[in-house]
Symmetry: C2
Subunit: 214 residues, 2 copies
């Protein structure tokens, strides 16, 4: 019955197994060095079946990017509870982000390194996901500013800039944390929180840093 | 005499003209769409001369990456005067960075978008430059922490994390500033300074953000 069950495995389940294998191989070896033979072997299926389901190496890679992007964004969204105070929302979001990237280093490598290194089409997939995350963070910061009753002091454009800064900093730190032995997700999140929140926190309290000569 | 002068132009000068043209074409059209014909025409030289001097499209692109990376790093280093207070050093460095990326949008596109999108060899060139900038920023932050007499509170690893966060935030904001009409270099620098310095400033003053349950 086990064999029958395996044969009857739904296509969707098989595809996820292929994507699991592909993310691991793409993430660890890089897009160019990854072979469809190795991906099929790791997934426990024949190479023709991989081509039948996912069509080509490019399409398989694109499917990996989309799945990993959705999983990362879903993890961050699920980590944030909008009813909590702003600093707690930011902390929970950062912790969810660094926990996900630490637990899925191959997925993060596919998203942040491989997808951006191998052509404009793949890079565009990641750019779209990143825009969603920036929009989400922008909304969080804008709401925090509103709840601190300081809207007039934080114009929309500056909030957009903070969101870009925070996302860029988080991406950079995730690479660093995954490449530096002994740095935990919690430490990476605390580092960015101490860097960013005390800064944003001062701003929410109306204390700005002023440039010389301003 | 003008014609003779042109013919006698030293190779180094001709090469810089070719690189100027190449950075503009690569930055604006992308690595793949850029043609050696267009680069030669914009540089006012023959295509064979471009190949004679720079060997291939790949070598020309690599030369562009190296030149633009060195120019950006030199601009940041020149902007920082180490005898000034830490916040002033950070402000001057950020202003120099955003001024350079705003004045050389094609160079920034070559470094931060094109070089990372078209293969591992080009990406490695940028990674090396980025590591130099992170090391420079790490040193600045470590010295600021020392001058604030708070070393024991800012362990080496956390300083390294702050440097990664700051560089990632700056990269992200430079893309955003160059893509957003009306955002000046000074505004981008002030946004990051308000985001980062008030945060680092609080830390230097020994005021940490504490995670829940810590």
């Amino acid at each position: 019955m086990g064999a029958v069950k395996t044969k009857r495995m739904p296509r969707a389940v098989r595809e996820q197994q292929m994507l699991d294998a592909a993310v691991q191989i793409f993430g660890q070896r890089g897009y160019i060095a990854a072979s469809m033979d190795d991906i099929a072997e790791l997934a426990g299926v024949s190479k023709p079946l991989v081509y039948l389901y996912l069509n080509s190496k490019d399409d398989l890679f694109t499917a990996c990017i989309r799945r990993e992007a959705q999983a990362l964004f879903a993890a961050v969204r699920a980590g944030v509870r909008r009813e909590l105070p702003a600093d707690r929302q930011l902390w929970d979001g950062l912790l969810a982000f660094f926990t996900h990237t630490a637990e899925h280093p191959d997925g993060w490598s596919v998203l942040h390194l491989q997808a951006r290194t191998h052509g404009e089409a793949f890079a565009a997939e990641v750019t779209a996901m990143r825009a969603d995350i920036v929009a989400f963070v922008t909304q969080l910061i804008a709401e925090a500013a509103r709840s601190a009753h300081r809207d007039p002091d934080l114009p929309e454009r500056e909030v957009a800039g903070f969101a870009e800064a925070l996302v860029g900093a988080a991406e950079s730190l995730a690479d660093w944390a995954n490449a530096t032995p002994g740095v935990t997700a919690r430490q990476a999140a605390a580092t960015l929180m101490n860097f960013a929140w005390a800064g944003l926190g001062e701003l929410m309290a109306g204390r700005r840093w002023s440039p010389p000569g301003a």
